[in-house]
């Protein structure tokens, strides 16, 4: 295939290999090093997209990240579809497949383009004024249609097989932007030996040197110098150079987020390469060398494919060797477009005319253009572009009116001037200042340790840029403590100059006109839309932006913001700085969710915590439930059993013989020190001073506001040592809560806290046969009821390993909790299991544990309490030390509403029909016949089928519950009302005889 627009001898891709690709099903060939844009242009393709609202045909505006129009869908394979890719950034690889977006049935014939014809209706803010009748139609009719029409590309529909990587990095000097300024700054800093990072979003360093044919540095072409300088930097140990890397966000304290694109430009990235890598860099100093972006001219139908920025046309020619047309027109308000015209002309492209809005500009480029025989028109405007799918002409008129002349062209190169890229500076919370003379916002007041250099700082000309950047790099290094190095400041031999331009609508698109002169291409915002917004009272630039959506497209207004602001200011009759600039927000250019997420996907989304005994449970068919980050064995179904059958069996087994339960996830804290008991007195409601070593107590912890925060059994191992247990989910926050009081409120106490949750595996052995199962394996502990009564703890050995053996029960049966060092947990479990088998014991999971404790009315903090429950509400007043002068929560729980009558209290519920199991969370009412909204007096917190009781049981929080014993209440369900009786909380073995049974 012949690339009709590739100019032999032009550009820098001369040796490159051919790369085949397809666009909308049509096969093309480009060369390696092309972007998709340059390759399409080499093939003469300009029409690549449709706009958001009017579905107008669009081509390439730019050759870079600021591109608003040329967004395509790239499909590597079925699972690797990427919407909204800028063709001007996507590098070509052999086999690339791209599709246009937001058109149906095809790009050249798009039904949605009726919007363009009807566009007079679709003015700015039009949605707010209509689609309101009839009321239901918004949801049922209008919104679905609008949603379907909006939205550019298509989201992927399969999980992404690519992976994304991440790295934290630190450096002394971070240089953002790898044009002449950035390279110079990086060289200056790097020579001093400090740690330097240099990043640029392009594949090749050089920035504007990619197109500035007039720059010569150190005796070489500017671009060649840039490559040599970067090669030198790459070779230095103290420098990291990142290409294809966009600094997207500048956060507090010189923390910068960058995304490096690694796989998207490769034909076969390979499985080991991440698609992208997120760099989170903390830099002592940041040098911003982010350059400037050319603006378009705002005139009628300036969006026709083939109408583009002059610098883009120049980049396509000088870097890629591609001519954007054969007969181009130029429309400018500054000098830089002349250089483009000159380069194209020299490459053999006919320049039909240069139209310059300025009256009598002078300068070498103008002379050169004339000398090359180009027609140069001053004081004239292009008032209209002709053509539809491709520009075919430009209509020229004296800028103050007069005769029109239409000139046939196949491309228009335009330049309204350059906008410094102050995005990152502004994100750093620096304040920009408006330079009235040059009509641009430049960095004003700095908020962080950074400095802007070159074009983004409003510095014109290569000489001044290099001086400034080199000095900035030197100073940044010095600021972080570097010694001075020998200067090797690059020498500039030749440079191009910059000049000003204009802001706002060009003649023919000014106030009073109704033409479509686009300010924001992608969102179809025209100059008249902005004027209309102002007329409708949108006087703040933020209002104008939101009302018109100017600057809110995927390019985030890189080319449109300044024009929009200028038009708004003109309409308001205010100077630009008084109207203000919209806020620059991260990201600078869109970044993938994947790059932000990095490794945190799948199993690395969140840790999965498993106990030492988990492998045994897995091998024995346990079904697991998520409890916080833990996986806990929920129940152990035997073949043919469903959950209910398994749980019923497990519950009965525990009460008839014994059961083994993995309680390892319970939080455990060792409280050590001579003041340990004093500390416990302050942190728990209970008294602790008099608890004998070797004994245990159930403790309740409150927050300062008086509500239950956590609970657990605490064993006193020695006068100065407590083994505290917490709930599974509460462990980290309880530890933090205790540390907080220990460190900041009670620092005079000699006590320390150590988390031992993971030191000990915990095996609960519960049931009448529990002692028989454990005893044979234990050494050094007298297991008799006299020596080891309920609620006591001993240290000794089990299976030859150290144990902290608790005699305690969460089932109401005789019970033990065997703590062993975690690495031995599974082996000791297996030994106990073997012993248990002799007695017909079984394993039980968390569900049976819940049922068994509910049969006894033991509460679960977080299920039967919810952060609004006091000890009294839960019937736990007995656990509050009445004689204590202080403990956390003592004052909070005395507040008027916490001691008021009628509070919700924890009670038992029995359904009138014992077979009916209530739903947890179901609401309770006194009068089931009342109309909705009903007066709810409580809710069910726990509810189970109890095989041991032969009926359902439930716990509930009920207003004034303890005064309602025996009362009938009602649980209205969608299909029926369930009658319940209020009861005590203990459903099984009310006298508690089985603890020693």
């Amino acid at each position: 295939m012949i690339e009709a627009f590739r100019i032999p001898g032009a550009g820098r891709l001369k040796q490159a290999k051919t790369a085949r690709f397809s666009f909308d099903g049509q096969a093309y060939a480009g060369v390696e090093g092309d972007t998709l844009a340059s390759a399409l242009l080499a093939n003469g393709v300009h029409l690549v997209g449709r706009s958001f609202k009017y579905h107008r045909p669009r081509g390439f505006l730019s050759a870079g990240a600021e591109e608003p129009n040329a967004l395509v869908q790239i499909e590597r394979d079925a699972a690797r579809k990427t919407p909204n890719v800028r063709a001007t950034v996507q590098e070509l690889y052999d086999g690339l497949t791209a599709q246009s977006q937001n058109r149906w049935p095809s790009l050249s014939f798009d039904v949605g383009a009726v919007n363009d014809i009807a566009s007079p209706l679709f003015s700015a803010g039009f949605y707010y004024k209509t689609f309101m009748w009839p009321k239901s139609a918004w949801k049922n009719l209008y919104e679905p249609k609008i949603r379907a029409a909006a939205g550019l590309g298509v989201a992927p529909d399969q999980p992404d097989p690519d992976h994304y990587s991440a790295r934290f990095a630190h450096c002394d000097v971070l240089v953002l932007g790898g044009g002449a300024a950035g390279i110079a700054a990086a060289l200056a800093a790097a020579e001093t030996g400090v740690r330097v990072m240099l990043a640029d979003e392009q594949a090749d360093f050089g920035g504007s040197l990619r197109f500035e044919s007039g720059a010569r540095i150190e005796g070489q072409d500017g671009f060649a110098w840039a490559q040599a300088a970067v090669a030198k930097l790459r070779a230095m140990d103290n420098v990291r150079v990142l290409s294809r890397t966009t600094a997207f966000g500048y956060y507090a304290q010189n923390f910068v987020g960058l995304v490096e694109r690694i796989g998207d430009h490769l034909q076969k990235p390979g499985r080991d390469l991440p698609r992208e890598r997120l760099w989170q860099v903390r830099a002592k100093r940041v040098v911003l060398a982010t350059g400037a972006i050319e603006r378009h001219m705002v005139f009628a139908d300036n969006d026709r494919p083939g109408v583009m920025l002059a610098s883009a046309a120049r980049t396509y020619l000088n870097h890629y060797g591609v001519a954007v047309g054969k007969n181009v027109g130029v429309y400018t308000a500054n000098d830089s477009a002349y250089a483009a015209a000159i380069d194209l002309k020299k490459a053999g492209v006919n320049v039909a005319a240069i139209v310059d809005l300025r009256d009598n500009p002078t300068g070498p480029v103008i002379n050169e253009a004339r000398a090359l025989g180009m027609e140069v028109n001053f004081g004239r405007a292009v008032i209209r572009a002709g053509g539809k799918l491709r520009v075919s002409s430009m209509t020229v008129q004296p800028k103050n009116g007069g005769g029109e002349r239409t000139i046939p062209v196949d491309a228009i190169l335009m330049s309204a001037g350059w906008t410094p890229s102050v995005h990152l500076f502004s994100q750093s919370r620096g304040k920009v200042a408006f330079n009235d003379e040059t009509k641009r916002f430049v960095p004003g007041t700095y908020a962080q340790d950074c400095i802007s250099v070159g074009a983004c700082n409003g510095t014109d000309g290569l000489m001044a840029t290099i001086d400034e950047a080199y000095a900035a790099g030197t100073k940044a290094a010095k600021d972080v403590g570097a010694k001075a190095a020998k200067s090797t400041k690059p020498k500039i031999d030749a440079s191009e100059s910059w000049s000003r331009g204009m802001l706002g609508a060009a003649p023919g698109a000014g106030p009073g006109t109704t033409v479509k002169a686009f300010v924001d291409f992608q969102n179809d915002v025209t100059a008249k839309d902005i004027r209309q917004a102002v007329h409708e009272g949108m006087h703040s630039i933020e209002h104008v932006k939101r009302f018109t959506t100017n600057g809110m497209a995927t390019d985030q207004g890189k080319t449109s913001n300044m024009h929009g602001l200028a038009i708004a200011a003109e309409t308001l009759g205010k100077p630009i700085p008084q109207v203000g600039l919209t806020t620059f927000r991260a990201p600078y250019t869109p970044v993938t969710f994947g790059s932000i997420v990095g490794h945190a996907r799948g199993e690395l989304f969140d840790p999965t915590r498993k106990t030492a005994i988990q492998p045994w449970a897995e091998a024995h068919g346990a079904v697991f439930e998520d409890v916080g980050q833990w996986k806990r064995a929920w129940y152990f179904p035997k073949p043919g059993e469903d959950m209910h059958a398994a749980v019923d069996r497990e519950c009965v087994t525990v009460r008839t013989t014994a059961g083994l339960f993995d309680a390892s996830t319970l939080g455990k804290i060792e409280v050590v020190g001579p003041d340990a008991a004093k500390f416990m007195e302050l942190l728990y409601t209970n008294p602790w001073e008099k608890l004998e070593p070797g004994r245990c107590r159930y403790g309740i912890m409150l927050r300062e506001d008086g509500f239950i925060y956590d609970d657990g059994v605490v064993g006193r191992l020695a006068p100065d040592r407590f083994h505290v247990t917490t709930t599974t989910g509460g462990a980290p926050r309880v530890m933090n809560h205790m540390e907080d009081y220990f460190q900041t409120e009670f620092p005079h106490l000699n006590v320390w806290l150590t988390s031992i949750t993971e030191q000990w595996a915990v095996i609960a052995v519960q049931g009448p046969k529990s002692r028989e199962i454990i005893a044979p394996l234990v050494e050094g502990i007298d297991m008799s009821d006299e020596a080891l009564p309920h609620m006591s703890v001993r240290e000794g050995k089990i299976c030859g390993v150290p144990t902290r053996l608790f005699r305690m029960s969460f089932t109401g049966e005789r019970g033990f909790e065997v703590n062993v060092p975690a690495d031995y947990g599974q082996a000791v479990w297996e030994a106990l299991w073997a012993e248990g088998q002799k007695h017909g014991a079984g394993a039980y999971g968390t569900e049976a544990m819940h049922v068994l404790r509910a049969e006894k009315g033991y509460i679960i903090v977080g299920q039967d309490t919810d952060g609004t429950v006091t000890p009294n509400d839960a019937g736990l007043d007995w656990a509050v030390g009445k004689k204590k002068a202080d403990f956390v929560g003592i004052r909070g729980m005395a507040r008027p509403d916490l001691v008021a009558k009628g509070r919700k209290q924890l009670v038992g519920l029995k359904t009138k029909d014992p077979k009916v199991v209530l739903e947890e969370g179901a609401q309770i009412v006194g009068d089931p016949k009342q109309a909705i909204p009903m007066k709810m007096i409580g809710h069910v917190t726990s509810s189970y089928w109890s095989q041991n009781c032969g009926r359902s049981i439930a716990l509930a929080l009920v207003a004034g519950g303890r005064d309602r014993m025996g009362e009938t209440l009602y649980v209205p369900m969608p299909d029926k009302v369930i009658e319940v009786e209020v009861t005590g909380m203990v459903f099984f073995d009310e006298k508690g005889e089985r603890l020693n049974g």
Binding site: P120, F131, A155, G249, G257, E536, S540, F593, V597
Partner: protein, 417 residues
């Protein structure tokens, strides 16, 4: 006020849209008003609107330090729902929801209230208990909220990952079909237009710098960057800045202000048809009519008025989004931003009279104020006009922390968004 209609649009289309009038006027402040509202966000503007329309009080100024609708209203993920647990919360949010339905017609301004459904996911047994408690309480309060199986949840939201292999599999969901979204800017603008048309002065770029009180303690007006403005009553509706304004009046508040971030993706064709929220995985998402995925992040951990937040907060949010929707890793974040949310100890708002005569406060909405906008404005207008709270906002007192009569939705184990 010229009415918006299809005919008006057709007429304006014929003449280049030059006939539209300003949606609100920009008057100079008068010396004194009957009521001053501090803060021209959605809640403040709605208050002014209902003062005028319901209570006939039109000598009202709404003072805004920046541009109207530019605070949390304009930095919003716009989720609307009323499936709250407690009667007090359900009361005020459902009052709002009823006003949302019909608000476009009431204001003659399309606020694009879209009852596309809000689905809250359960990932474990505890979530099921909590969400079912909501479902049951809502039903008996007359608020729609239904329980869905994972399969039904996926049917309602096809891109949702309900694989059992997910780190936190979806085990069920609660769906409020009347929940949804609205267009945030339109809410502020619609109320501003309606209030302005009835004589309310909306005064932008006018920052309150002091609250003046008479010797008897009652408010007499406010000092501003545009001079002193007298008022018989002052309603503070300043969101993240409520503490700051209330301090000027000598009232210390149980509030802390945190950065809250949100982000949108690039626009894509419709893919997420409803609002999906998960408290366990910590994320919520919807898709705007423009096609952007709208994603709310959590708050940063420290008090801040900087309107920025840390990148790691967005990371945690997107981790969660990609866990629920693994197909979205190739989507791109287009824009992120930060707001300032004022949070009370029980995460419920304060909408009340204050110890200072003539001073009223509406604050503490935390991360969830947008959905309440019409209801909040409606009952706050009542509170100011009558000097007595509406029954709906009567529980949301300023002294409930002293008494302990909290409305703690978060403690009841669901994070309020």
């Amino acid at each position: 006020m010229k009415k918006y209609s299809v005919f008006a649009i057709a007429r304006e289309a014929m003449r280049g849209h030059k006939g539209w009038e300003a949606q609100w006027s920009s008057p100079e402040p008068k010396k004194e008003y009957d009521v001053i509202i501090v803060g021209a966000g959605g809640h403040g503007l709605a208050t002014a609107y209902y003062l005028a329309t319901v209570h006939g009080i039109t000598n009202v100024a709404v003072l805004e330090k920046s541009w109207l609708g530019g605070g949390n209203t304009g930095r919003n993920t716009t989720i609307i729902r009323s499936n709250y647990l407690y009667d007090e919360s359900a009361g005020i949010y459902d009052h709002a929801l009823k006003l949302w339905d019909g608000l476009s017609q009431e204001l003659n301004y399309n606020v694009m209230y879209s009852p596309r459904g809000v689905m809250m996911l359960a990932h474990n047994v505890h979530d099921i208990q909590v969400l079912k408690r909501h479902v049951h309480a809502n039903r008996l309060n007359g608020i729609d909220n239904e329980w869905l199986t994972p399969e039904a949840a996926k049917e309602f939201c096809p891109p949702l990952n309900i694989s059992r292999d997910a780190r936190y599999p979806v085990v069920g969901a609660a769906l409020q079909r009347r929940g949804g979204t609205a267009r945030h800017d339109a809410v502020a603008w619609g109320y501003a237009r309606g209030a302005s048309a009835r004589g309310v002065h909306i005064i932008q770029n006018c920052e309150v710098t002091g609250v003046k009180r008479a010797p008897n303690g009652a408010v007499t007006g406010v000092e501003t960057t545009r001079g002193f403005i007298g008022a018989k009553k002052v309603g503070v509706v300043a969101a993240g800045h409520s503490s700051v304004i209330m301090n000027m009046a000598g009232v210390r508040m149980p509030l802390e202000s945190y950065p809250l971030q949100a982000l949108v993706s690039e626009p894509v064709k419709p893919v997420v048809p409803c609002v999906v929220m998960s408290n366990t995985v910590h994320a919520y998402i919807s898709q705007s009519d423009k096609g952007e995925l709208v994603i709310g992040a959590g708050t940063d951990q420290y008090v801040s008025y900087s309107q920025t937040g840390g990148l790691h907060i967005l990371q945690h949010t997107l981790d969660a989004i990609c866990e629920m929707f693994p197909i979205f890793t190739r989507m791109k974040m287009l824009r992120s931003w930060g707001g300032i949310v004022d949070v009370t100890p029980d995460r419920s708002p304060i909408l009340a009279k204050t110890p200072v005569p003539g001073l009223y406060v509406n604050c503490g909405w935390g991360t969830g104020g947008f959905k309440a906008t019409p209801g909040s404005g409606h009952v706050f207008a009542h509170t100011i006009a009558r000097d007595d709270p509406h029954p709906i906002n009567a529980p949301f007192t300023i002294d409930r922390f002293r008494t302990g009569r909290l409305i703690d939705e978060a403690a009841a184990a669901a994070v309020a968004h």
